[in-house]
């Protein structure tokens, strides 16, 4: 069977080779890249602009951004027909292609995040390494930790006041470079779509900007969600009677910290969300007003075939309701959870409506294609490019985060600066 035929249903006049070639993994790709970029921008807001209120979430967002890194190329690898040739993108890059920049931009970005993380945790690495070195009769896991931490110090054991001050400076500079790189990383993901002149829905210079804005929105939302979850777990742990830090007030203490951080971050979320929606609506209005040749078929897709997923799921459920939830006074954690989940769903639907929506009409402008997401996998293709493949991509950063958190303690680390 031809790639794409399995999940594509054609209606009216569609040319023989047209299928929905870019399926759910290409929806996941900008979605996950967006989360990476958004998480990093959130952490940089503290490091660069010194927004103190975000201090608690900043360190957390950085580690999470690192955990999300592999999840950006993962959907592409799952989508490629020849994943083992993926290295060709680095070996014979053809820079007139937007995708060719991926290897370079992504590696640069990865290096920046990793370096920033290294400076942030350098003191911890050195301390752990020295501590474990002195220890007699190391267990196997301690030996492993010792090796990891010693490697991570990169041989730099100087943790004097002066050295740490340099670290702080380096973090600030890296965070500053990181913001444009993160925006570039995601902006060019938008460019991949926006520059396809053959696709009437994709082709708009606004696409990269829309992608960046919604990326930041989704990144902030994910950080808020993960932050809440981690705080809830801490709350449960801290309030166990056998816990060494147990005190009757601790629960309230954590709770008040938590809601303050969430309230603060929610403001930034709404700010970027407003931006994203304005741009999307501008694009829609402009298309309708100029009404070029493709508008007839675009209108039938936007207001007809995809009405539910655009106006009800994306704008209604994903944008309008979170707005109401966050703007109603007296924000609670529970309401925030619902809000951020809906925001992330809204951004996902936006990616879906761009990627799948852009392929739901034929190049003839006289036919339609319907996408049916493979749910039960019955071969490699339906596993990779089906519901389970997409879920796997979504879950992978959380699994990685779990392991990363063992090396990079997110809470309870003494302030090094």
């Amino acid at each position: 069977m031809v790639h794409g035929e399995l999940w594509t249903v054609k209606e009216l006049f569609v040319t023989p080779n047209e299928y929905i070639y870019w399926s759910v993994q290409i929806v996941m790709y900008p979605f996950m890249t967006g989360l990476v970029a958004g998480a990093f921008v959130l952490s940089s807001l503290y490091h660069v602009f010194g927004i103190k209120q975000l201090k608690d979430i900043a360190r957390f967002a950085l580690v999470f951004s690192f955990a999300l890194l592999p999840a950006a190329p993962l959907p592409i690898m799952l989508h490629l027909q020849h994943p083992f040739r993926g290295i060709n993108v680095l070996m014979t890059s053809h820079f007139t292609s937007a995708i060719a920049a991926f290897g370079i931009v992504f590696s640069t970005y990865g290096a920046i995040v990793a370096s920033e993380l290294w400076f942030l945790y350098r003191k911890h690495f050195v301390e752990q390494s020295l501590f474990l070195k002195k220890r007699q009769d190391k267990t196997l896991s301690e030996k492993l930790y010792y090796l990891i931490y010693t490697a991570l110090t990169l041989g730099a054991y100087d943790i004097s006041e002066e050295a740490l001050h340099k670290d702080e400076k380096a973090i600030k500079i890296l965070a500053a470079i990181g913001i444009p790189v993160a925006c570039f990383l995601h902006g060019y993901a938008g460019f991949i779509f926006g520059s396809v002149k053959a696709n009437a829905l994709w082709m708009t210079p606004l696409m990269p900007v829309i992608f960046i804005m919604s990326a930041i929105v989704s990144g902030i939302a994910l950080c808020m969600l993960t932050y809440i979850v981690t705080m809830e777990i801490r709350k449960i742990l801290a309030c166990r009677k056998q816990s060494p830090t147990y005190s009757p007030e601790c629960r309230e203490e954590i709770k008040s910290v938590e809601i303050n951080v969430i309230k603060m971050t929610a403001k930034y979320l709404l700010f970027f969300l407003t931006f994203a929606i304005s741009l999307e609506l501008l694009d829609l209005i402009f298309r309708g007003y100029t009404a070029v040749k493709s508008w007839d078929v675009l209108r039938s897709v936007i207001y007809g075939k995809d009405f539910t997923s655009i106006f009800i799921l994306q704008y209604g459920l994903g944008n309008l309701i979170p707005f109401i939830l966050f703007l109603t006074p007296g924000l609670t954690i529970r309401r925030a959870i619902i809000g951020v989940l809906l925001v992330m769903f809204g951004v996902f639907m936006m990616r879906w409506n761009v990627v799948i929506g852009g392929q739901s009409f034929s190049l003839t402008f006289a036919g339609y294609m319907h996408y049916h997401l493979p749910i039960i996998p019955h071969d490699m293709e339906t596993l990779k490019e089906g519901l389970f493949g997409a879920l796997g991509v979504f879950i992978s950063p959380f699994i990685l985060f779990y392991f990363l958190a063992k090396i990079f303690p997110i809470f309870g680390l003494k302030e090094s600066h």
Binding site: H3, T15, H79, F95, I104, K166, K197, F365, G367
Partner: protein, 260 residues
């Protein structure tokens, strides 16, 4: 002192960042640039006479067998479209199986199992349009290939390197004519290449040879004595979707505004 160090560090980083793409590029020597300017003596072009096409689909059949595209796979390098315009201004168009088996019924395939039979009294105009790769002078599919697996040969034909293609599908998305697809066996991007193995041996393409009515012709547009070149340069011919600026090299006689 520290800021200077940081400055140096950033500069080094930037230099390293720039040197990566530079290292990936081949540095052109002036002699090489000069050599590149030498023009090829051949530029293949195709001429389709839509008045002559009867929709028998022998071209599609021959193409699939000649170019080893699995016969029953629903993709094809070339295909024929049927356009039926009714007196009340409606357009019905189809290309069942890419017209591999021709058009043997008056019923128009509407997809999803529906058919529409247009009565002959209702027909205002109706005709067939063969389609194939336009071998554009500005091929958007080549522009977007991230690895250099698809390219334009010196004689204008756009080819795909099956050993280098990573299968990302960007070229398929970038083609405004829908001529590209994934090969069901090799899982790499696939397209019409004017039967490159035939034209370079002096043969006609499989579709040109198979066409009983002379609706398809291929020639060298740089040869003034070539009959196809003569027709293209002296008669009124059209191209598909000129608005994309791709400069197609498949020319059509009898093109209609309804042709997509």
């Amino acid at each position: 002192m520290i800021s200077r160090r940081n400055f140096l560090k950033n500069t080094a980083k930037a230099v390293a960042g720039i040197s990566v793409p530079l290292a990936a590029l081949e540095i052109l020597s002036p002699a090489r640039v000069q050599a590149l300017k030498a023009d090829s003596a051949v530029r293949w072009a195709f001429l389709v006479d839509t008045y002559k096409c009867v929709g028998c689909g022998f071209c599609v059949k021959a193409c699939k067998l000649e170019n080893e595209i699995p016969y029953d796979a629903n993709v094809t390098r070339t295909w024929v479209e049927r356009y039926v315009l009714t007196k009340d201004g409606k357009l019905f168009a189809d290309s069942p199986k890419g017209a591999r088996d021709g058009f043997i019924s008056t019923k128009i395939d509407l997809g999803m199992g529906n058919f529409h039979d247009v009565k002959k009294e209702e027909i205002k105009k109706a005709f067939f349009v063969p389609k194939l790769c336009n071998q554009c002078d500005n091929p958007p599919c080549v522009q977007v290939c991230p690895v250099g697996a698809t390219y334009q040969a010196p004689d204008g034909v756009v080819l795909v390197d099956r050993t280098w293609c990573i299968g990302c599908g960007y070229c398929i998305m970038a083609c405004p004519y829908g001529v590209r697809f994934f090969h069901p066996k090799y899982h790499t991007a696939e397209k019409c290449n004017f039967c490159y193995h035939r034209i370079t041996k002096g043969l006609k393409t499989a579709c040109v040879q198979a066409c009983p009515f002379g609706a398809r012709q291929i020639g060298n547009i740089k040869d003034p004595n070539d009959p196809v070149a003569k027709t293209i340069t002296t008669e009124r011919v059209g191209i598909l979707k000129s608005e994309y600026g791709t400069k197609p090299h498949v020319f059509y006689i009898g093109l209609d505004e309804e042709v997509r």
